[in-house]
Symmetry: D2
Subunit: 437 residues, 4 copies
């Protein structure tokens, strides 16, 4: 078995500069690294991580390594790897198996390497390692599990027995792991890093918001001002996208299945309607729902000539590619991340990034500043799992509020922002019930 597999080790020096640039914008994680370096809280811990291999992930795995961990890193999406960073991390002593543009076979081969590592801790962005382990354990038959299985060198029971815990970065992944927990099939405790306030309030909202619009502009160079942008989903990602689209001058329509969120979107000044009603109005459609087939046949058929489609949700199932293929008589690549579909009705629809996470495929993913907090949660979650080994149940946990607040405080300090503290008297006032009018 190879010690690593990346595109080209010669890219390492570029990758190191990229990681250095990210470190400049990730002061909290750098501070945690200093502590890890000193105290080695992860000594002897094997970690397998499936994450987008970006410069920010580079800062995270360097931090985990500083803590003493032995790490295998594989991608969480076949198209999102920055090859220079992958090369640089190999130079830093991380066992990386990943490159941009992996085939389906290669992708699951890499997941298999992550499992072969017999990790104590898994880190996931979309739950691919954790899902694979559970599918193998429960003998779920599917193509992807078959692709993993045939590259496996370890017994899955031993893998499961070795595991202390895992972390999950995304809403989508948490939904899957919660489903496992509900069915009482979860085999090891998971920290839903996504559910930390310092993660989802920032990464999902400001990170996805900016990077999604950024990626669309990079791919198309269209003017957002004056466009009608339809955002599917008004969760934290969706509202980030909606606000940024508005901030760039778009007229935004929101679609939702949740009536309370729909009302919020309405009172935030957006139009809210069914996707079927929005279909003929939109110039750009962006999905961020965590669900599948959000835009499908009936919607494609109503769209304007020239409509653009992009997905900001984790999996490439939100825009129904099968429906789109089925409706089309012609498909061609216009520019690196734009595919033109010519429908039977003569209209042309443009799909970005093959319906995959547009911000990672056509852009650089989230800015370092938000990943600083998300990955600080990851690093501290790993430490928390190690410290609480044996004490946690097979459930999906949230990190304690104190850790969340600790990260926020470090972030504010790094920005030079000072805030008020409660006086003794104020603390007392908040704790009593009899003082008043």
């Amino acid at each position: 078995m190879e010690e690593f597999k990346v595109k080209d080790l010669k890219l390492a020096s570029d990758g190191l500069k990229e990681i250095e640039w990210a470190e400049n914008h990730m002061p909290v994680l750098v501070k945690i690294r200093e502590e890890f370096l000193e105290k080695k809280p992860l000594k002897g811990i094997r970690i397998s991580a499936s994450l987008h291999i970006t410069k920010e992930t580079g800062v995270l795995v360097k931090t985990l390594k500083a803590g003493g961990a032995d790490i295998v890193l594989v991608p969480s999406n076949p198209l999102s790897t920055q090859d220079s960073v992958a090369a640089a991390l190999v130079r830093e002593g991380i066992r990386v198996y990943g490159w941009r543009g992996m085939s389906r076979e290669e992708y699951y081969w890499a997941i298999a390497q992550a499992i072969n590592h017999k990790p104590h801790i898994t880190l996931d962005d979309g739950a691919d390692i954790a899902s694979s382990i559970h599918k193998l354990y429960y003998n779920v038959s599917s193509e992807d599990v078959y692709l993993v299985q045939k590259n496996l060198h370890v017994k899955i029971n031993e893998v499961v027995d070795t595991l202390i815990g895992g972390t999950e970065e995304t809403t989508t992944g948490v939904i899957r792991l919660k489903a496992l927990e509900r069915k009482k099939q979860l085999r090891y405790p998971i920290i839903a890093v996504n559910n930390s306030l310092t993660k989802y309030l920032f990464d999902n909202r400001y990170g996805t918001g900016q990077s999604t619009l950024d990626a669309i502009i990079r791919a198309t160079n269209i003017l957002i001002a004056g466009k009608t942008v339809v955002v599917a989903g008004y969760g934290w990602c969706g509202r980030g996208i909606a606000w940024r689209a508005r901030g760039l001058g778009a007229n935004v329509i929101v679609t939702e299945v949740n009536p309370i969120r729909a009302l919020e979107a309405l009172y935030d000044g957006f139009r809210v309607m069914k996707t079927a009603d929005a279909a003929p109005l939109g110039d750009v459609f962006i999905t961020a729902t965590g669900n599948k087939d959000v835009i499908r046949k009936e919607h494609f058929l109503k769209m304007k000539n020239g409509a653009l489609l992009a997905n900001a949700g984790h999996f490439n199932v939100e825009i129904s590619l099968p429906d789109l293929e089925h409706l089309s008589i012609r498909k061609r690549r216009i520019k690196p991340f734009i595919d033109e579909y010519t429908l039977r009705n003569g209209k042309k629809i443009y799909l970005l990034a093959e319906g995959r996470l547009v911000n990672l495929v056509a852009g650089e993913g989230h800015p370092s500043e938000v990943m600083d907090m998300s990955f600080s949660n990851q690093a501290l979650a790993v430490k928390y799992l190690v410290e609480n080994k044996g004490k946690l149940e097979r459930k999906v946990y949230q990190l304690p509020y104190e850790i969340d607040e600790y990260i926020a405080k470090l972030k504010l300090a790094s920005l030079g922002v000072e805030i008020d503290e409660l006086t003794e008297e104020q603390r007392r006032y908040l704790s009593q019930w009899a003082e008043g009018t």
Copy 2:
């Protein structure tokens, strides 16, 4: 004992028109009223309500009455009663004890009337009835409890025994009742209406946001554009205020004690700093924290000449009036809701609405559209308490999510907004864990 006490019954016809106008903008509550009228779910139930006596409250108590309840209504703030509405409600058969500009003595006399009613259910906006009952029960000695006690015609133990439950409308009230619950002193179950999503996401944010700025403009007619507005607190009320101030052209500074909220404010584009640092920069200061002494001596001393102070929190303790009085050599009323304080340092500071809830004192309170949802929660909370009589513990509850969602659906329908529904396939997808990449 009088059957009611209001300013002037001749104002009733104006009040009825006001209530009619509110009903036009409260379709959800009107719909609930129709159901109540038919099914009489509150038959035989005595309700004592301490609420701001506004046209919207008029629509609520008419709804409760339609459900069969026997109601006493008293204010929740001595300055917030609309006398025409109070008169109209007497005409509608509600026993109202309240008028604009009550003295402290009169205010607690009215609270006593609410308790004398031996309610099955209490409705509170700031927990004044519930607090008084608990203070009486636990023999807490304070001036306000003394003022209630001397007008009491019933035994407090009997009152407590009669109670089925209560509701609370505000963040401030919920904080107080939670404190009681933590000390295991809560005597009857409470529905924290404030904690319903269809309440705090809308009322606290859009309602307080607009009505606070509106009230400040009504009182002062200042131009918000170009002003530096300091908002203390970035909770749901605070962020509503901050966004509306920005929407009117202000440059907004946020102060906070919670580091996560502080970071949110920062990433929302606001400046964040200590109150002491904001003091010399602000043209207008607005508090919305639920805490006391948020703006105090050390801050007043640093302010610019001409600074305006307004409070949007429940109690008039957020801006320290004792400190302000103490620092001043002169005080005069400039316009109906503006008091000019001349400090020893020669600077003039202007306090709006005596530091009380500015939107209710200098404005008309929240627009009907948001009260529609808040008060639908109130009405359905009362029904829920009656239906679950004996089943609830002495705790602070949130209304079930289904009721929350039901209100949102009615609201969307009333606005003619249609949203997507999950397909069978989508529902399945969300519930499973093994489908993916």
Copy 3:
């Protein structure tokens, strides 16, 4: 002939406080007053002013009086007078003829008094004095000129001969006077104060923007968030309104006749369409066009039940009252500034402020901060006319840019804002053509 005519002189002390409050927010005009007081540039000059009699106008006429002028002040709208201010100004020695709620006869009687004063300078807000003088001079027959004529004690030729010049405050007035100029019928030079940058960029945009929304909220207490607001006209006033409505959470539709402005609105993120298409979508309609019949029969018929109509343009002709009356089977007053029209089709439409300038009728007009600049232009325009007596042609002029810039500099200084100055080298660079790449 009476020396003055106002509602009630006893209101003067309230009016003085109002004027004092305005002065606190009009530092530029106060500074100009100090200079006027010292140099008396208007000594011996008779001024007749037709302006909204508000606290800000109070500061202006006090300033002109400080400069030595002898002033008659009449309203520029029968519903906009603040009676306390009118009383206070009489106490200050101004000859005021005006009160809130004048009849048509009374209004033109007051205009006649302004002409009887044989002014050297006229000040107009909507050109009523100037129009009347021209109609009298050219024997135009109309009802309003008849109403003026019968109260006239002077010969119109003598009036015209005495005139040095006039000023005009509004877009609407400037359009009328430009029409006179084009026909070569203008009898005396006019300074279009409206065309000063420090006037229309601020007063029309930020002033009208805020005060229009403020007045609508005062009259109705509706929640703006979530409403569809249709703004007719995307001139400086219209865009101020559109941005403020958006800032309060509305979804805004703009209607325009000018294609370039329509495109600007579109790229600013608003929907743009024909009024006929917007009619069934709007919850609130606001006109700011300077034209007539902007909303008319064909539009009323398509509106939703409950639609609100308000006008922010100078004259009450933008919303066609004749059409509305004609289509209705019932009309009643709901609240002080709201008339409910029940159309034959059963729908109810609500007209605010009788279709007159909503911000002056249902609100307090523009905030002092913007009137500070507008009225500084007025004061300096009067001084400029006197200084250039005999040198100006019978044309519509703009104030020299230097005066405009002078006002802006004083304003910035009053706000404590410092800005960069060009270095010698930068000044040189800007003036040459040969330096570059």
Copy 4:
């Protein structure tokens, strides 16, 4: 002399796709091309154009060629050429002399080719052809004129005699040409395309606004939210940048030398201060002034460690590179468009795109949608110059309003937006002066 000189003709097929993509978003210019193709208004006209060689410029020159013109195209910036587009245009029969990354010598060699073409019409973006012609004509000695001269094959007097007119695209270029006009040295009529409403209101505001932020994000991947962004200049470009930065969550400070614009920025909710005061506060600095040394030694010295500098003005003189070089002890390239300067005080400052137009160097320039209008003005300006040959003076002209409006109408139509038209009665109302109150 070569017929063309570009990077690599094999890039032509990519370039053709790029141009096709642009054409999809430039419906107005495509429509004008159809007319040109039919009527050949430029038959026999030689055009020399110095423009950024982008896909949008491709659409323009193809349009001019369709009209019958014989065209030489050279860059207007040594770093902004898209080599694939240059290659494609050669294939289309345009004589292109330009590639990305030209040296100073090569750049002026290309300008010389433009002059050697003996154009009837010059098209400029920054006035490089026009300046060179005037410098040669007036024997101005400078390095750049020397570099042109030595490649010249024609007599400058003959060139000048041949010229019918020219056009200029930018504010910066217009400033230079106006300076020539003021000195009565302008040798041929110029249409200031920049001054068309359909150009500067859209291109400078929405185009520069989006593309500048886009380019900064592409180069750095920083999160804009939470950053303090200092924008130098609040002209049309500057305000576009300021609004977009805010729309992405930044806290924006504006610096200005013009007091009226400074006040506008203030009332738009931005902080306004001297550059020296903003220097220690900014995370990102963006210049858009048309002036030189806007950020210089005294400012660099006060900046925070990590400050980013970008220029959106035409020339690379707005940020003083000499000062920056002088203050630094070290300089290294971090990423393609980022140079790190380490100052003597130990702080690191990051300069983007070598201080050149960041949106063209690190991004793709303005989106096609706005260039559609800007270049429609160019195309119609060329036609106008030809039609009015001999009738225009040696002055800087603006295109007639009718042409401006015509472009706006075509644009609205292409977007499917319909607007109101004035009724006969409304037209009459606007033209008269006697109707009113």
